[in-house]
Amino acid sequence: MVQHGTGTMRMRTARTATAPFAAATAPIVDSALLRALPAILLATGFALGCAAPGNETKATAAGASERDDAGVDDAPGKKDDSSDDGERPPSPTGDDKMVVQPVTCELGELVRARVRRLTEKEFNNTVAYVFGRDDLPKLSFPQDPIANGYANKSEQLRVTGSLAQLLWLDTEGLADAVADDLVKAAGCNDGADCARSILEPLAERAYRGKSNSETLDELVSVAQDTAEGLSFEDGIKNALRVLLQSSEFIYNTELGAPDSSAPDKAGTGVKLTPGEIASQLSYLVTGGPPDTELLQLANDSKALFDPDTREIQVRRLLQEPGARERIGDFAEQWMELLALPKKAKDVQGDKDWSKVLPDALQEMRTTVADAVLSDGASLADLFLFDRSRGTAALAEYYDATIEDGWIELPEERRGFLTLGAFLADNGQAIYGSPVKRGHFVRVRLLCQDVPPPPADLIVNPPAEDPTQSARDRFVDHSTDKNCWGCHVLIDPIGYAFSNFDGAGRRLTDDNGHTVDTSGDLALSDVDGALKDAVDLSEKLSRSQQARECFAGHLMEFSAAATVQKGSRCAVDEVASEFVAGKANIEDLLVALTRSELMTNRAPQQ
């Protein structure tokens, strides 16, 4: 069995290693050979290598072209740095570059002590909670960078010049919208005590355990200073502008107690404060700030260090509406769907993708969230579900029936890999893409690396020839030795999706050819010939590798940090039950929140 993150699955690029495939001469897919390879690979210390470019012959491959649209890119020249040998890649710009996470197998050391800026959703949820109003205008942040599909990475979330300016302008509108009502409700409208009585409870909620006499005095002083020339209401308004833009509001800290995290104490591990743990749990599970119950627990110096207490809280928070949104966010980002709305699709014919795109995204989010939170789904269940949460328009798109908001999926669709969102995201404008789909399964679902095409290979996609079947267009990949070494790992998986076009529509005819969905899955723990995508999903539902990989992704999302792939070993212990197939996804999330990932940090750099 191929193990993950143990050091034996170390990946090399074609440029630095000659992989075993280079020795194979038959330019065809030889499944038997492939299935025999894992043992050889493990013995030689290589994983998925490719044929090294042996000559300068011009060849065609779809490699880069297939994957270099927004959000997903593996182009020539890319360096594979998935080394897990404990060496840290050099950071060329020194301290002010990105956080390079340590490679560690300890969850508590996985992430360094840090500050994490709230995301747009977290900001808006926090505002709504602080003022107890869901009718306030929602701020729309400039888009944050996306890294590895995820939009919540701490190192990417910064207060740039444009975000600072946006906050400056828009928080004034928010303060305007609430100040007068707050003063009316207070029953007083003059003096420092009145200002304090209004601002104190707001600061308690807004600063999430970081409110103290210094921060409160400052707010009251701003209100007083402003009121000197203007009105009391104007004073409250200005104090609220400070409240909503202050660092206590904008950032979650994961630094531990002030005296334990000072820069001069760098070098020692950090224990988070109860308030920081409360915030982390709450934002992770609900996307919003800690509620009264959590904040009360945070007043106790020990309570939240107890995994059982955290589990009770997490299971409680999972019942909140915000939890559904969060699982939906995870599903969307795990599936790398953030760029999908921008992808161009052929709109000819009576089924127009652009009309069902929002429904299809929502389908993925809601179906996964429902399965995880209402049905206690395992990963296998996500691969196999036979109904989805959708709309009538989407049901029609699938030629399916719908009842009570549930689409009864037709027989060619089972599980998330056959939903429109995945298929369209991993398709070209018109045709389906065996390369993108196969690559996704290999890399995102099995956590195996596939090197980019060699640097001196010209990569042109096959022409969209209306007489060829989609599969025939990629025949070069199995006949050209420059392409075959890598594409043999990718395309045969993707062929199983040949009955879906680039917009996720079912194909009954492939440019006049019979639709052929046969494929092959090799170098996995569930190898075998594939009948179609449903068969692939069924195999993956039994894969321990897929469960390990998924656990790593949930950990990455939960940690909100870029983690070295080698660090996925850290998930081994906490996810052992899940990987063994005995736990559901909710339990995996709970296990992560019981771990030291929630309580400890490696020291700052």
């Binding site: 072209s65 002010d96 500050v115 701003v222 020339g229 200005n238 760098a266």
Partner: protein
Amino acid sequence: MASIKHQRRQFIRAVGASATALPFFDLLRSSAVQGQGSGDPLRLVTLYTSHGGDWIYTRPKGVNVSKRGVSSPIDAESLKFEHSVLEPLAKHVSRMMVLEGVGMTEGLLRGGGNDPTQARTLFVGHEHTAGNAFTGSRIEWQGEEAYPLGPSLEYELGQQLGGDTAVRSIQLGLAAATHSHVGCVSFNESGQRLPGIGEPRESFRQLFGDNFAVSEGDTGPDLELRNNLRVVDALQKSAERLRGRLAGPERAKLDEHLSAMADIESRLEAQSKAVIPISCGEPSAPPEKVTDFQEVSQLQLDVLAQALACNRTRFVGMSWGSSISKMEFLHGNEVADLHSDVAHAVDVRDTSDEYTPDSLKASQHMAQVNRWYATQLAQFMDRLDSIQEGDGTVLDNTLIVWAQDFGPQVHGGLNVPYILLGGGATQFKMGRHLHISDPVDPNERQWPQLTRVERSTPNNHLMISILNEFGIETDKFNSEEFTGPLSDLT
């Protein structure tokens, strides 16, 4: 008690959704700095368009490419031929320099600084070219993400020289994927991405604020300013408290935050001291939630022209179009995906005689796309040229550098078209084509030709020249290897 009349604008002057040009330009005849007697400011707009350039349709007619350093004058006639990319800019040909032979040389280093072989390659991904186009930097991979090692040109200039305007530098996306490494061309000093602002309305707000004032009168500190500064002060204290607990990259986050607050502070003070002069007109905000590719493009350029004229900023980085732009207005239903259907089907040769029918068609499609960009750019230049400034126009004091995603050949990082526009006030000699690589021997067309890397001119030299033009004395920009200016420009 306020000593000036602050006209509060709720920026409600949105033009109708169907109108794409802002009416403001009809009124605008002189720039904000006109007549201030303090010397005209030089501005820089860097512009990056997605996909590649094809010299067959980009190179003006009759120019000499026989040897390195040869310069050929160009005129409107030399831009006139079928599928000519630059023909729409013919009116501005005297303010155009076409650079042939620029390489994204540092960006061609495989795997950036991590590569033990230190070898360069001819073909790279969009991350390497987008990251390099205006940084000249090698590209470093951090996990799945690619970053250059230093700042982009407009950001660097903004940090050094932009302090006297409301916004030091601004990054705009014109229907571009600037959140990701395939479309972002602007970076801070740590090489972190500065995603472009995509919505014209938001660009307007960033540049003008919500409550801009238009006044001729002198101004002094007023109550509103005092209260705003009180808020800023409280926010700075809060950020400094947190910064004191941080080290390394975490501290850098708060440094960036504090620097943004300092910009807001100086903007408030500048706004109070020098409100937007009547002479530059009354800025009008574009409509909200525009998503159409053409409309976004035009509105962004309109907002930008207003901002330059009103001296709200002097340094601009723009990324235009993405690798998945549809642009169906150019191609109808014939092209569903510009990236896959067109750009990758172009297999450009250095002479036109070796096109296959398919690649020729794709190449002409691509020329049509670039021609569209040129048309929009020409309109933008027309606008800048209609605004008086000193003895010339705003266009004279604005240098536009248009670079494309790739040079000839799919995913090729050499001989990328860099076209200088405007900039009459610089020392650069415009109105010509300048060939700055060794000539291409048609017999050497087989792949790979790594020696060709050495035969083209690294873009670092161009950027050093531009920095020097702005008065920054340096002989280095994001490369230890390629230093010194490009002497042929002046």
